[in-house]
Symmetry: C3
Subunit: 348 residues, 3 copies
């Protein structure tokens, strides 16, 4: 952990900012947040899941955040609230303020004179910003980033080092774009013509809403004709691939290594598990949960959890059972034949 | 979409350039291409699949591209041709010319004096080109790209911002290399020696043919001893991993998130679906199609489509059926036992 | 292959450096290593697996490295040793020394005056090193790399072009970090709060041990509260995603495209096959092998090989059998019913 000489806050001050009820000494001061197991005497911990309640007895935390139902589960000074995990997130952000560079354009960056950078924005060393691009108030463009011609980066948005936004793409406000992310590369579109692939120009853009997070090395392709759209509040983990003309609904969260093929429409408040693969031209309803590793080959019209994973076992057991997969049809035939025999025997 | 004041073309002009027959007013002018559903009065649309033929009745497109068999499916001015999708690709490229930077070496790039950059090539801000590297005629090296020692970038090839080509690698003509792509990193080779992994030097190169596209954040490793080879016309989507000493045959297309382990040989005109994984040291014939999410663990000698995906269902149904996978052997045993019993009963 | 005018070594010289016994003329000189099939008259080859023994008869190699058990399998000059593959790795490294840039800070890099770069380290063009960062003896920071505030790069560690290390992260000695790798981006942590995701600050670091290799475009996220830890000797291929607070045990090797979700603990000397996905909060024992494409959803307490892959077949066969997966329960019910019938028939 970084930053040791940080400011302290009393439980009373926290409750004033974030709500909740203090039980015990409201003057109790904390400097950091930590898990119950490792928290020390200046640290605030939290209980978000009652199955960890027994850890309250042994924690060295100075104070804890609890849900209403666990109000009396400890004698430690505590803040009682509706959503302890969200409360912890808010306190964590307060005691660990992000270090943001000073506004200004680094002398070793290359900003085209036809680009517009807000005076309150910061452009890092080696960043390249092309003609017509617009960088919003308080935005931070990290070292060696690239922002293409006519692209727009919203207010308060942060691009970390080595991130790339192609020409014409639009990023909303308060987005976080991590290193290695690539927004707006060409979609994978081509026509087979007499034995050769002919490239189809990708003339759409990527349009990203507000409060979106894009993980390290995630790629979002620009649209072929229309735009690829990422709505407000979408959270993308690392190593994700989003094909051209996809539309990701608001507040959907997608875990690492997921691939989404072109023109697929994912609803709002969906959750896609790691390494899932969603085929192209599908429509997934709101509030759908896709399990990790699942291959989605059909549209999904109703909320719920969907899965397509071969269960894991020791390799020898796997081999024994996997080999029978190829004989399922034969097994079914033998069952049918047996049923016929029984019928005949009983008929006698 | 970008670029609004674009040039217009008459159907007659298009037919002169690209062939096909104009039916209706050859003086009809269009400025852009668009799908049937969203096309407007200055736009040319296309019908590549007869299942969308009913959209012809309602489209606002000014004109359409059709196959011979659909010649009379509309009264709109039209171009009739053999391959409407390829025709559309050509028109799309004509009306949306790529904006290419002016030739020249940006003053904020770092080109070694022992490198050779063609006078007609463009090197962007922050690009670094090492000793002995050669950049071909009309090539474009994007901002903050890296081209290592003795690497060669072919004529008309374009590297987008933040792409990397390691030392000694060779890229053919007219290639497109998207941001975050890494060509020529070390293959994953090591020998276990008394409890430690010993690195095996990766002294081969990556050799990429002509007309190849490499998607964003795709990685192609250099060979261990011999080269990794990507033949002409191969199209690679984003987030792909190609291991050392692979050989990818001409005009093969590989979708996003595919992994190909070392020393595997993929034929020509293959298509690999998203998130497929091909194990190492295999040989895949020409014209093989691998379904998305498929794990290929054996060589494939004959063309065709191959699949290995557990079918998706609602999680509860999945759990019920997946749990039985572990009992397939037992099911088979019980079927065999039943067959024995029936035989005995009938024998009586 | 690069570098043609390389130094030659006699078998006697090699045996003096690396051990083993020379059989035949110890003055035999070689310049390069190569596979048995392609080796030429100045090249040393090796036999690591007796199934390739027949290649010894036809090889044009000048000499070979063999295990004790194959001592008499050829008449060529040879080095007999315990581990021919490891021996070959050592010779390959000797005859192909890595070209390392001259020490010094490139005038086109941006090193904060509050950073510390060892005089023997090399910092490439366009690299950006922030305040408080420390670059160790003999380290090489490639072109356009980024090293964040207070990060530490160990002695002899090499970052290739366009790699990124976020603030506060620690990389050990003799590590290799390939292009596009991102170490220390935020973990994927958030709390749902009244319909919106609230970001949880990621205040841990990534701590990487000695002799670690990180492949191209691999991402390792920083911890939420505690650190993400990669122990000594871990080898990571390309396109891997390691979530926050994971702990990867010493000498574990992970193939390309693997995803490991947050807070999972992988033992030492494990091997994870390509495209495997390990869910979060699991514990995997030492010496576990995970097959390519396997989804691990439970902790694994015992060494061994584990697999979860649907077997591949031609698509039509796959469809026929896959469709029956959804009827496994029904099959089991029909088997049970048959067993009941038989019992009744026999009871009569």
């Amino acid at each position: 952990m970084t930053g040791d000489a940080r400011k302290s806050y009393s439980l009373g001050e926290l409750a004033e900012r974030f709500g909740g009820t203090v039980v015990g000494d409201a003057a109790t001061r904390i400097r950091q947040v930590a898990p119950l197991e490792t928290a020390g005497p200046e640290e605030l911990s939290f209980l978000a899941n009652r199955k960890y309640e027994k850890l309250l007895a042994s924690t060295h935390a100075r104070a804890v955040i609890l849900g209403e139902e666990a109000r009396e589960a400890t004698v430690l000074p505590r803040i009682v609230c509706k959503n302890p995990y969200a409360y912890y997130a808010r306190v964590a952000a307060l005691v660990n303020p992000e270090i943001v560079p000073e506004p200004g354009i680094h002398p070793h960056s290359v900003v085209h004179r036809g680009a517009h950078v807000a005076p309150s924005a910061a452009v890092g060393a080696g960043a390249v910003i092309e003609e017509g691009a617009r960088i919003g108030d308080g935005a931070v463009i990290g070292a060696n980033c690239f922002v293409g011609r006519d692209a727009r980066i919203g207010n308060g948005t942060r691009m970390y080092a080595n991130a790339t936004v192609y020409q014409g793409c639009v990023i909303g406000d308060r987005a976080l774009i991590h290193s290695g992310a690539v927004i707006g590369a060409d979609g994978f579109g081509m026509a087979m013509d007499e034995g050769r692939w002919l490239k189809i120009p990708q003339i759409g853009r990527v349009v990203v809403g507000d409060d979106v997070e894009v993980g390290a090395n995630t790629a979002i392709d620009r649209g072929a004709l229309d735009d690829t759209v990422i709505e407000n509040g979408v959270k993308l983990d690392n190593q994700i691939q989003i094909g051209h003309n996809c539309h990701i609904g608001a507040h959907t969260a997608i875990a690492g290594c997921v691939g989404i093929a072109g023109s697929t429409r994912i609803g709002s408040y969906c959750q896609l598990g790691g390494s899932a693969m969603i085929l192209g031209h599908l429509t997934i309803a709101d509030h759908v949960v896709i399990s990790a590793g699942t291959l989605v080959s059909k549209s999904i019209a109703r909320p719920g959890t969907y899965t397509s994973v071969f269960p894991m076992s020791r390799h020898d057991d796997w081999r024994r059972n996997a080999s029978l997969i190829r004989h399922l049809h034969e097994m079914m035939d033998r069952i049918r034949k047996l049923e016929g025999e029984i019928k005949r025997i009983k008929g006698k």
